[in-house]
């Protein structure tokens, strides 16, 4: 864990050593990874009883972008993915798109705020909190869209599940970042 923390600390300094063009290429690769991870996840069967629960694989790329390149890169990867997926699936400006944007923005704001203010937080806590924020925002957007506040009944158990899944994604992100060859 300490080695990964050290990585998170030194990555901003070493990222400066990454040339601008290399930085653009790496962020673009993360964006492409986010889209692919999202596609892979959409092919997984949903769990009975909780079909709305997702693993959030795409957040892996967002967390890595946040740790290595900062908030703007993470925003680009997250929102870029949402728009690309919406265009590809024909759901741009649909209720589903509103839920995606709501979840992505809430997750991004929470993750950026936590990683900027809380010293000692690792990608695990950042990802778990971002995942919880994502789910909560989606439920709020959905309950507004269908005009049914009682939809929020499903929110607390989903947030708990999202915390656990987000922490796992954070662990994976941590492992990936600590093995980045260009550090």
């Amino acid at each position: 864990m300490d080695s990964t923390l050290a990585c998170a600390r030194t990555s901003s300094a070493s990222a400066a050593a990454v040339t601008p063009s290399r930085r653009v290429a790496l962020i673009a690769a993360l964006l492409a990874s986010a889209v692919v991870l999202g596609l892979v996840e959409s092919t997984l069967p949903s769990v009975a009883l909780v079909p709305w629960l997702r693993i959030g694989l795409a957040n892996l790329a967002v967390v890595i972008a946040l740790v290595c390149f900062g908030v703007r890169a993470a925003g680009l990867v997250s929102l870029g993915r949402v728009v690309i997926v919406a265009v590809a699936t024909g759901t741009l400006w649909s209720p589903v798109f509103a839920m995606s944007v709501g979840g992505a923005v809430a997750s991004l704001v929470v993750m950026a705020a936590l990683s900027a203010t809380l010293r000692g937080i690792t990608p695990v806590g950042v990802s778990a909190a971002g995942s919880a924020a994502h789910v909560l925002a989606q439920f709020v957007v959905a309950s507004v869209l269908v005009d049914t506040p009682s939809l929020l009944v499903l929110a607390p158990p989903s947030v708990l599940a999202a915390l656990a899944l987000g922490a796992v994604i954070g662990l994976i992100a941590q492992a990936v970042v600590s093995r980045m060859p260009w550090r």
């Binding site: 949903s46 079909p51 759901t91 869209l145 506040p149």
Partner: protein
């Protein structure tokens, strides 16, 4: 996982657990099915079998009531989360098809807000 991680996760988990009873549906003995869609709300009894076509935002949504349970049997939406939700019967449980703006809920017809939930 650092101490800060554990604290953040614990706080969010505590808030979620604390909020649970606030948003949980009151377990009233009602056995009505409330089907709310863009075109309006329909209330049907849970113990009478029937099939209902609801016009959603993206197309028709088929709601089936049988054996005291209600499910969405067909819907034109991207992920079919509503169909995969299965059949529900417990008061307060619900199925939502967000792309179609349709919510199927077991409970009393007039009670659609959270105002009466805090006890």
């Amino acid at each position: 996982m650092s101490r800060a991680d554990r604290i953040v996760i614990a706080i969010i988990a505590l808030v979620a657990v604390a909020a649970w009873p606030l948003v949980a549906a009151a377990g009233g003995g009602s056995d009505d099915v409330v089907i709310a869609g863009p075109a309006g709300t329909t209330v049907v009894p849970l113990h009478v079998d029937g099939t209902f076509m609801i016009e959603g935002l993206g197309g028709p949504v088929t709601v089936v009531v049988s054996d005291g349970r209600v499910r969405v049997s067909d819907s034109c939406c991207p992920d079919h989360v509503c169909m995969r939700s299965g059949a529900i019967s417990a008061p307060g449980s619900l199925i939502a098809c967000v792309p179609n703006g349709v919510v199927v809920r077991v409970g009393e017809g007039g009670d659609d807000g959270l105002d009466a939930r805090v006890r």
